[in-house]
Symmetry: C2
Subunit: 166 residues, 2 copies
Amino acid sequence: MSKKSVPAASDTETRATSEHAPDLRLWLRMLACTNLIENHVRSRLRAEFDITLPRFDLMSQLERSPQGLKMGELSKRMMVTGGNVTGITDQLVGEGLVVREDSPKDRRAYLVKLTPEGRRSFRKMADSHEKWILELFSGMDEGQRGQLYGLLAALKTSASRVTGKK
Amino acid sequence: MSKKSVPAASDTETRATSEHAPDLRLWLRMLACTNLIENHVRSRLRAEFDITLPRFDLMSQLERSPQGLKMGELSKRMMVTGGNVTGITDQLVGEGLVVREDSPKDRRAYLVKLTPEGRRSFRKMADSHEKWILELFSGMDEGQRGQLYGLLAALKTSASRVTGKK
DNA sequence: ATGAAAATATCGACGCCTAAAATATCAAAA
DNA sequence: TTTTGATATTTTAGGCGTCGATATTTTCAT
């Protein structure tokens, strides 16, 4: 059993690398997957519809809430800051895809809604978008995808306990 | 059994929402998890070490490659564009945490390396960083984490086939 | 050797994103 | 009421990120 001959990590120079905790590797892998997919989607949205991912994302939130959403709601759902939502909304308003309506209940707030053109435009893009996602996940079988879905629920719960955010 | 009174989705106005393909939901959940964790790490890095996530990330790549990395290598590993790496590197050079050395093999290229101070600084941050990740994943048991790790490998393979990127 | 094509990095313009401060409104207590 | 504190949004300053263009160097087929 010849052990003992391992480098022995000289006092000063210190061992090399890849002694990462498994959790760290797990996180880095997850991040890599997400970036891979996100970058792909971003570039296809740009190439085929000349739109940015954040704008698409905002429209997507609105499509699910036809009654309109307040800026703060959008901010929460998109997981970005309020100031950021202001900018993205400005752009979409300029393109006629979205409107800011005064909230009847609260004069501080707006209700942001898709315009008819915004709705039309979004539906066309959403079809393609969904196909791209399908394609990206198509190398996993049904069972794997189901498992992954469940594990991510567990991760969300675990992380939320730490971050405080629901 | 009074059914029948459900909205019945009039011809034009069109049904509501949540008729998303399971894969789309899976992707959105994954994205939510990643954003949750990434935002948390970003804000702790800022609060406790006054550094940005991209700078930390770049330093982390260099720490694993003591021989130095070319700008293009950094770009690939960080999954961002070359122009972006130029900017982040400039900042780190300005802070004395990193140096650009001329590549002996190729006069177009640099070898970016951590300075001794950069190395010191990174090690301190990396310890905390790893603890944060551990904590965020701590609500999952060993088996779950292992499963997730495996499934992400499958996803990476699946997505890579589409994106072309290795 | 030469000239075309590919690789390496930077730059400029623009949009996303954050944190912190400013503005305006609301709600509730003094 | 008027103050106080919380909520909703915008603004500002600065860093990150993309794309496309440029300059330099290398590579490789002629």
